[in-house]
């Protein structure tokens, strides 16, 4: 009998249709065996969305948010806002001539050394230099080290080697104080230095004088030497107001930079030119 039962049931086979229908059902029920499960797809879409938002936000942050300001003080004073990628994202004039200059140069998204070169090749700026008018370039930013590096880069550029150009690495407090006094940062520092020897001197008097004139007067009353720019970076002044003690023998050593603490953007300042 066992053979009869075995033989009888051995004839029974699952129909091909039954197997195929089952496989189709399984494919559907398991969402392609987990390959395209709804949950996984939804998760993937969510992650892609988050990643995209992150990339856009990070890109915007790095590109659209200014981290440094480079101020060029001359007859035409302009301020460049620079992002973390060293690209200029805005340029604005800080006096009437500066506004004209800012509107005439196309430096958007240029690397800051190139942008400055473009500005320095402007006819008005070249005229200032031919007339031996002083120009100061000040870098202020959220990071001390980076600001100093930027100052080094600018100082190494050909245009900064002109004797009447001074490159400085500033800090927020100095810039704000200079702004309050209505002076460019370079002139403000000379003003503070002068004030030690002649407390009666006023910012108004200084503002109407050229840097060259200020240097000459300061040398006269202090007995120290204050050489002109020549691409030099200012040093020997502590960042929180110059008290003279920070100056070395000649006031400037020609190679260093100011070590002032920077707490963010220098902010724009009004300036009437020299």
């Amino acid at each position: 009998m066992d053979n009869r039962i075995r033989h009888a049931f051995d004839q029974v086979r699952a129909e091909d249709t039954l197997k195929k229908d089952t496989e189709k059902y399984l494919e559907k029920a398991t969402h392609g065996y987990g390959k395209h499960s709804f949950f996984v797809r939804r998760l993937a879409v969510s992650f892609a969305g988050i990643a995209m938002a992150f990339v856009v936000a990070a890109g915007s942050y790095f590109y659209a948010v200014p981290a440094y300001a480079i101020t060029l003080d001359a007859e035409s004073s302009v301020e460049l806002r620079v992002n973390r990628m060293d690209r200029v994202i805005s340029v604005k004039g800080v006096n009437d001539n500066g506004r004209t200059l800012a509107n005439s140069v196309k430096v958007f998204l240029m690397k800051y050394p190139d942008a400055l070169e473009t500005i320095m090749s402007n006819a008005d700026i070249r005229k200032d230099l031919e007339e031996k008018k002083d120009i100061s370039i000040t870098v202020v930013g959220e990071n001390d080290q980076k600001s100093e590096e930027m100052t080094d880069v600018i100082s190494s550029c050909t245009y900064a080697h002109h004797p009447n150009i001074t490159c400085m690495c500033g800090n927020r407090e100095d810039v704000e104080a200079a702004q309050e006094a209505g002076l460019p940062l370079g002139k403000y520092r000379m003003f503070l230095e002068w004030k030690q020897y002649d407390p009666a001197i006023t910012a108004e008097e200084i503002s109407s004088m050229s840097m060259q004139k200020i240097r000459e007067k300061l040398e006269e009353i202090s007995g120290n030497k204050y050489p002109a720019g020549a691409g030099m970076n200012w040093n020997g002044m502590n960042g929180n107001g110059m008290n003279g003690a920070g100056m070395n023998g000649n006031g400037m050593n020609g190679t260093g930079r100011e070590n002032g603490k920077m707490n963010g953007m220098g902010g724009s300042r009004s300036h009437t030119g020299e």
Partner: protein, 161 residues
């Protein structure tokens, strides 16, 4: 979750066995389709590792029998089956004798069917069937003995134990 390849292999390997178990228990092809879907989906979604092929086969038998029982417990399903329905369910594959044997097995009381099928077709011992069905070994011996008697009576001829 198991891979598509693993699941397809299981469908290929165990479909015939599951089809026979379904035949023993169920009353319609539609129900068989339901059981196939239930059993293989459970397999596809399970992450259990089987110690051996025998272990895997036993898992399919147990799950199929349980799924059939669950289906039959449904209040709306008919619990009885007519002779005509049995003839239809047993099918006409093989010889007339094969069909007759299948019909008689299908007409056995439910409690004997599994033990008879598993012993006479799948070749499991009473001890193994006891484990698979969660019954005492002596009970399985009794079920087999009684089932054998009924079939001998219906089909004639001796049945080897």
């Amino acid at each position: 979750m198991r891979s598509e390849q693993e699941t397809r292999e299981a469908v290929r390997k165990y479909s015939d066995m599951i089809r026979r178990i379904c035949m023993v228990h169920l009353k319609s092809y539609h129900d068989t389709e339901d059981i196939f879907q239930t059993v293989f989906l459970k397999y596809a979604l399970a992450s259990d590792e089987f110690a051996s092929e025998e272990h895997e086969k036993a898992w399919f038998i147990r799950v199929t029998i349980n799924a059939c029982r669950d289906l039959l417990r449904n209040f709306f399903r008919s619990r009885t089956v007519s002779i005509e329905e049995v003839e239809e369910l047993a099918g006409e594959t093989g010889t007339a004798e094969d069909s007759r044997v299948r019909e008689e097995v299908l007409l056995l009381p439910d409690k004997y069917k599994d033990a008879v099928y598993l012993h006479y077709f799948e070749g499991y011992s009473a001890a193994e069937i006891a484990k698979l069905l969660g019954k005492k070994e002596n009970t399985v011996y009794s079920l087999l003995s009684r089932g054998r008697d009924i079939l001998s009576e219906k089909l004639g001829g001796g049945i080897d134990g």
